[in-house]
Point group: C2
Chain length 369, copies 2
Amino acid sequence: MRGRVPLQAPAAIPQATGGPGRPRGGQVVTVALDAMGGDAGVASTVEGAALLSREEVPVQVLLVGDPIAVEQQLRQVRYDPQRLQVVASSGVVRGGDPPRATLDRLPDCSIAVAARLVRDGDADALVSAGDTGAVILASSDAFRRLEGVRRAALAAVFPTEQRHGPREDPFALMLDVGATVQATAEDLLGFAAMGSAYSAIISELPAPRIALLSNGSEPSKGTSAIVEAHARLAKGPLAFAGNVEGVELLRGTVDVIVCDGFLGNVVLKMIEGMSEIARDLARGAAESSLQARIGLSMLGPELRQLRARTDWKRYGGAPLLGFDRVVIKAHGRSEARAIRNAIKVAAKAAEGDLAGRIRDTVLAMGGSA
Amino acid sequence: MRGRVPLQAPAAIPQATGGPGRPRGGQVVTVALDAMGGDAGVASTVEGAALLSREEVPVQVLLVGDPIAVEQQLRQVRYDPQRLQVVASSGVVRGGDPPRATLDRLPDCSIAVAARLVRDGDADALVSAGDTGAVILASSDAFRRLEGVRRAALAAVFPTEQRHGPREDPFALMLDVGATVQATAEDLLGFAAMGSAYSAIISELPAPRIALLSNGSEPSKGTSAIVEAHARLAKGPLAFAGNVEGVELLRGTVDVIVCDGFLGNVVLKMIEGMSEIARDLARGAAESSLQARIGLSMLGPELRQLRARTDWKRYGGAPLLGFDRVVIKAHGRSEARAIRNAIKVAAKAAEGDLAGRIRDTVLAMGGSA
């Protein structure tokens, strides 16, 4: 690390893990958290890490950020000092900053230092609620693309009507949602392999059902990239369910939805927008009449359950897939609880050997996904 | 017309209009209805036309279909015989049939005969709830593409939170939703021109606000086709509002959303799926507890209003734009009321001189949209 001396040298961190990105089961997983990233900065990140430190989970968090700001925030919260450590960084890439230029100007900014801790094996996974472009670039700078993976993908979970896996997760996975705007058939195959590997770990599914998002269920429907990807997935080793349309996406008839980053981004924002609009409509109804207000309050338990299921804060962020390390991008608007969940998901992915699992899946698909 | 003699020859139909596709204001508009198209066939189409015939609107409907089936259905309903006439056709293209081959094999099928009535000036507009591919092909066979229009587009209205135009329409327009899967920048410009012209007539807006659906509001966001279309629309004569994302789409911050047919189709089906899922969730809540059931019944008026607003049956079908004639594709699942609305929309578009308006808009944009 150039420039600054870490408040507590990463080298001094007890390493109970099985090597970079591959902690052994049951042992402590170390997560490097970009403490400066996200709209609320240290206020959310430090509190999120503090929350987790008080729980019975074997996760160690390195809070990477301005040591004065982080320490000050730590004094405001209750935490287990055995489970949190501060690592100094200098500067932050903010949303709106040009990410490449800012990373070059601030080589010791929080996301860059956090990524290097993971690269060097001082941590097993990276979590950031900072600018998406900066997280992707810092990851490309620090990590290696996995062999056979042509393009990284950002995946997101979204609420579905049907449930998934033995833990009955009320969400499915969609990728890419923004890392690769236009995708070739080859890219889509890679997304399918990576999504399958991630879903297998996170939702504990032996063979996640994969589908291509298209404008019809027939193999001939969609762009030329989708038609080609369909033909190849149909012959491949994944649990390929064919094409799905917009309706089935929300029903959740499959576990992993594959599409290019442009479509995924539009669709994901529509889904986020839906719950916002539903909330506004309920508010409007409540204001319109006393009867409606009483009706809504009687539906309280059901509405709370629905709100919980459609709340992205519960689902712990979006994995950036395709690198030899675990990277979780938390939502920029993450509050403490969302940060805590993102750290937990990152630890679970590292413990499940995400990179190794992706490598194996790509290999099974013929080596070049 | 080959093969069969029309039950009532189209030549004998009183023509009160101002020529093909351009009836003069206040005069009777004639709509050719594919009476065999749609999942319910004559049951829906004949009843829809009959409904309209009893209303105070100057619209004449030609029921194009198997004369025996149509006459039989007419005996089941109340209608004004001055406003309905039967034109014989032979055969129908059903969903699942290969449309091109079936049209070639059945040159006098209902959609082909109806399109020729419009081509020959015996009717001012075409309405069909039949197979989308068949409607598009029959239109290409019978009509001319408008000068300067490279690709036809299918447009659809969808419910939005905000309202549009002086009549406060609770819907916006999106195109293309399936005629042109992959669109160039040039194609997107054409869709913008056609959507603007149609929205101006249907929602009575002097300058409909147009936006490109993209993965970010910045001009640099999206596929290369979108980035180029953005730059050109920004310099053009339309009321261009830039790019919108998934959230704003549902809010309805603009009047016309432009995208390629692949994206439009996925998004439209998601929107249709949402109200289905909302209905299922409400049903699930009602079954879960007595309290929820009472709460839902107290919300009755608000839920009915919401259901009405998100009900595609009210909005009268999707215009197929780019030809020198008015074509409205009604939903395959259309019941009588949806057919009635589609006929009304077709008459309004013909009366507003849709083709002329598109031609003028394309010309204003530099002649080649």
